[in-house]
Amino acid sequence: MHEIEKHLITEEPYYSPVGEEIAIFEASYRNGLPVLLKGPTGCGKSRFMEYMAWRLQRPLITVSCHDDLSTSDLVGRFLIRGGETVWIDGPLALAVKVGAICYLDEVVEARKDTLVVIHPLADDRRLLPIEKLGQILEAPPEFALAVSYNPGYQSLLKDLKQSTRQRFVALEFNYPEAMHEAEIVVRESGVDLPLAQQLVSFAGMTRNLKGSGLDEGASTRLLVHAAKLIQSGIAPTVASQCAIAQALTDDPEMMPAIFELADSVF
């Protein structure tokens, strides 16, 4: 049990709700329903998961998905130790065994055949078969499964299969309203409110560019980064350039336009 304690969140993470997401997550948790978080990058999905894990007092096991992620990476595999083979649980099997919350971040990045392993776990059976051991784990009521993805930048290639997505309760996340977002920036970075509002107004400008040159506008996370730099004494225009504009694009025409927007706002 010692290992799992690392995954317990002891301090309350800062999370400012936008709608009814906390109540919906709790209701899903009580009913053993898996949850799908949709939303653009950096709008607070992972923070929400940390907050919910703290609130429900369950360990949170996060797996960042990628296209090389195999079923063994999730369920577990044999390793050689001292000339003998030993079974090591993967993060998903571990979460099922100890009744933790397993959070698969950016789930569409994982290969479709890998994701099939969560199917029996994400419906009313709540089972995780471990083929190599010939075992079937039954998830305790404390176990929860959550996955996240960003519908914004999905190419045709990367989409969730209907058989996967139709197992989840979906929560849609977006950037908070301007004032709310400014308050979050203040709370996270310590800058004063007028400056946070300027940053939010700049973020709004980059979000206007979504679809006309940018794939995504600036996320709340990037605003917090810029605000932290400003708080450490970096000039607002420079901080916006480094923490926001440069992070958004490499396009030689787009970059100066965003720099100029930053110069205009501050």
């Binding site: 006309s212 025409e253 787009m254 205009s264």
Partner: protein, 705 residues
């Protein structure tokens, strides 16, 4: 290598050829005599320039040579410096550019007025051209909130019609390049602010449309101050730059009367109403202020015309979308104007003028709502009532107006077309925005062709499906990996032996299954020129059908486009299947509907498909062209010109990481295709009937690992 000085007859001979004297009757004797006196390097450069410019227009080229001798190379002794060479090159470029954009008269004007060109050259060092900054400015403008606006070149001063900002082709007013660059942004911000901060609302037109010049100019000054204060509030950084620009052009402090005006404006919360009131109240005491460089004249009548057109369209659009939205909502959204309910909360939501009100609308309605609020300061109540039949009619009419096929009903124009550059090998430069390209849908045809073809090739299709099936989902087992899904028993046994013998234990004891995912996007580009009529067209259609059937099994993403055209103004891309469309009856009918059209202008098609392929984000992008002959078009796209432009377009494709392959039935293909595609990237088929068999085979070969 030292160049030898050419004699007058030698030069005359070259110029005769270049200026096609047989037809033009240009007398080259005098020019040749003058060029004969110049240094060999100058002679070569002049002849080279003459050839380049003559590719655009012979008279212009002849005049340019004559004038260059008397201006650039007029210095006695004719020391040929790099500077002179550069000057001639840029004069020629400038002249050709003017010829492309505005025609003969303007380019001749530039040829005959060297002083004008030199002034232009001098200003080049501090000036900024619109071309240099256009893309950046457009991104910048798109980033600012409110109605999406466009940029366009102005013939004289800058102005705006509330939808488009017209900018001068160069910004040269200020003494430093950086300031001129800022000036462009300041002009854009100023005109954006005009529209964004409610200048063009009904009271303006009611009170200023028929006002005297004095009153209108005074209003421009008052409104200018109002907008500057608003810019200071929302874009303080931009306002500071505007201050610097004003200082750079020698702007002074405001008089006490004008300071009083600013105070009044601020007390009235910088509204349009206050600006109008102040203008009228102070019209006798005040004279208009000199306009700062970023402030344009108000083009009221043109704004009114644009506004009137927009209001009708947006009202229809908003009413129809809003009613659709309300129908989907249950209960209806709180912001609907159901005043009679008397609900306190609903009443407070009716404050349409605020940004919060926009935020309560669904995403798809917000841009129109923002634009409407810019025009009226609120959403007028009648916009929130049920959409009448007139609205639907207006929307239908708008859709008809935008039908790309209709554009060709009248005179040729480029509105709404994709503009692509074209390479002119004689000029050694691109002709900017030369080809007007439109995407047209191929009309599906219900005829027995598809059925017959599927029947005829049913055996082949079955065979193809099988081969493509095995080709799909290649699983590879990687042995001796340091991590993996399972133990590699063979490696494990060896490791045990090593261990017993006291040797080091390898860590590569695992098997990993790696699935090769086919991340391929392929575009088939079909030549639909008139010469494909008959057998070739049938073969193309059959080949595409077979290919689609096979690709269904394989699961690769694919698109099919056709191309044809008449001259650069009418370059048509025919959409047969887009990447996002699934293969089905509709696509089969469109394939059946492929009909021979006009000529084979090829460069634009490759450039357009390049853009489409580039957006797919696939790892391997492939463009397979089916054609029956070399690039050729109605007017100027013959022989070397067409081949060189196509070659350039293919080089652009390669630069973007797109693999281009060509299947042709032209028997002479071997004489020019290696230059276009490279020796190994094309196939020549002797019999068109072989095409359906060959194409699937080629595809399999191209995409296997």
């Amino acid at each position: 290598m030292t160049l030898h000085r050419l004699s007058a007859p030698e030069i005359a001979e070259q110029l005769d050829l270049c200026f096609e004297v047989e037809f033009t009757f240009i007398d080259n004797t005098l020019i040749a005599q003058r060029i004969a006196q110049l240094e060999p390097e100058v002679q070569q450069q002049l002849l080279h320039t003459a050839r380049r410019v003559a590719a655009s227009h012979i008279q212009v080229a002849a005049q340019l040579c004559t004038n260059a001798i008397t201006t650039i190379f007029a210095v006695s002794g004719g020391d040929h410096t790099a500077q002179q060479a550069q000057l001639l090159d840029s004069w020629a470029d400038q002249v050709m550019d003017l010829y492309d954009r505005f025609g003969l008269a303007k380019s001749m004007q530039m040829v005959n007025d060297f002083d004008h060109f030199q002034r232009y050259q001098r200003q080049e060092t501090v000036g900024v051209s619109l071309k240099e900054v256009e893309v950046r400015l457009l991104h910048f403008l798109n980033g600012l909130s409110g109605r999406k606006m466009k940029l366009a070149p102005a013939e004289g001063e800058h102005w705006s019609d509330s939808e488009t900002i017209y900018l001068p082709s160069a910004s040269l007013l200020l003494p430093q390049r950086e300031l001129n660059r800022w000036l462009y942004s300041a002009i854009v911000v100023y005109h954006w602010a005009e529209a964004r901060f409610s200048t063009f609302q009904p009271p303006l037109f009611a009170r200023m449309m028929d006002a005297s010049d004095h009153l209108l100019h005074l209003f421009e000054s008052v409104n200018g101050l109002r907008l500057e204060r608003l810019i200071q509030r929302y874009l303080p950084g931009q306002w500071r730059r505007m201050e610097q620009l004003r200082q750079a052009e020698g702007g002074g402090e405001l008089s006490s009367d004008w300071t009083q005006v600013v105070r009044l404006l601020e007390e009235g919360d910088l509204s349009l109403q206050t600006a109008l009131k102040v203008t009228e109240a102070w019209s006798r005491q005040l004279q208009p202020l000199p306009r700062p460089c970023y402030q344009g004249r108000l083009a009221l009548s043109r704004v009114a015309a644009t506004r009137e057109k927009r209001i009708g369209e947006e009202r229809a659009q908003f009413r129809v979308s809003f009613m659709d939205y309300r129908r989907q909502q249950s209960p209806p959204p709180a912001m609907a104007p159901e005043r009679e309910t008397g609900d306190e909360e609903e009443e407070s939501d009716l404050q349409w003028s605020s940004e919060q009100a926009i935020a309560t609308l669904p995403l798809q309605l917000r841009p129109t709502a923002e634009s409407i609020i810019q025009d009226f300061g609120e959403i007028p109540p009648e916009y929130l009532t049920a959409a009448g039949p007139a609205d639907y009619l207006l929307l239908q009419q708008k859709a008809r107006e935008e039908d790309p096929g209709e554009v060709w009903g009248g005179t040729y124009h480029e509105e709404g077309a994709f503009l692509y550059d074209e390479w002119d090998h004689r000029r050694e430069s691109y002709r900017k925005g030369w080809c007007a390209v439109r995407e047209l849908e191929v009309e599906g045809v219900e005829d027995p062709f598809v059925e017959e073809a599927l029947q005829r090739y049913q055996l082949e299709i079955r065979h193809l499906r099988k081969t493509f099936e095995t080709f799909r989902n290649e699983n590879r087992i990687l042995k001796r990996q340091s991590s993996g899904d399972d133990l590699d028993l063979e490696a494990l046994v060896e490791a045990q032996v090593d261990l017993r013998q006291g040797r080091e234990l390898s860590d590569q004891l695992f098997i990993r299954t790696s699935r090769y995912e086919r991340n391929i996007a392929v575009a088939f580009v079909v030549d639909m020129s008139g010469s494909t009529r008959g057998w070739i067209n049938d073969a193309e259609r059959e080949a595409l059908l077979l290919m689609c059937e096979a690709l269904q099994t394989l699961g690769d993403r694919y698109a099919i486009y056709g191309f044809s055209g008449v001259s650069r103004k009418r370059c048509d891309i025919y959409v047969i299947k887009r990447f996002e469309e699934g293969y089905g009856e509709a696509i089969r009918q469109r394939i059946s509907g492929i009909r021979p059209q006009d000529y084979t202008r090829m460069g634009f098609a490759i450039r357009h498909i390049n853009q489409i392929l580039n957006q797919t984000g696939a790892k391997s992008r492939l463009m397979i062209t089916l054609t029956d002959g070399k690039p050729d078009d109605y007017s100027d796209y013959h022989g070397e010109y067409g081949i060189e432009d196509t070659r350039k377009a293919l080089l652009e494709a390669r630069h973007l990481g797109i693999h281009a392959y060509c299947i042709t039935i032209d028997e002479e293909a071997k004489s020019y295709l290696p230059r276009l595609y490279g020796p190994a990237a094309f196939t020549q088929i002797d019999d068109p009937r072989q095409l359906p068999y060959k194409i699937t085979d080629i595809y399999r070969r191209l995409t296997s690992r």
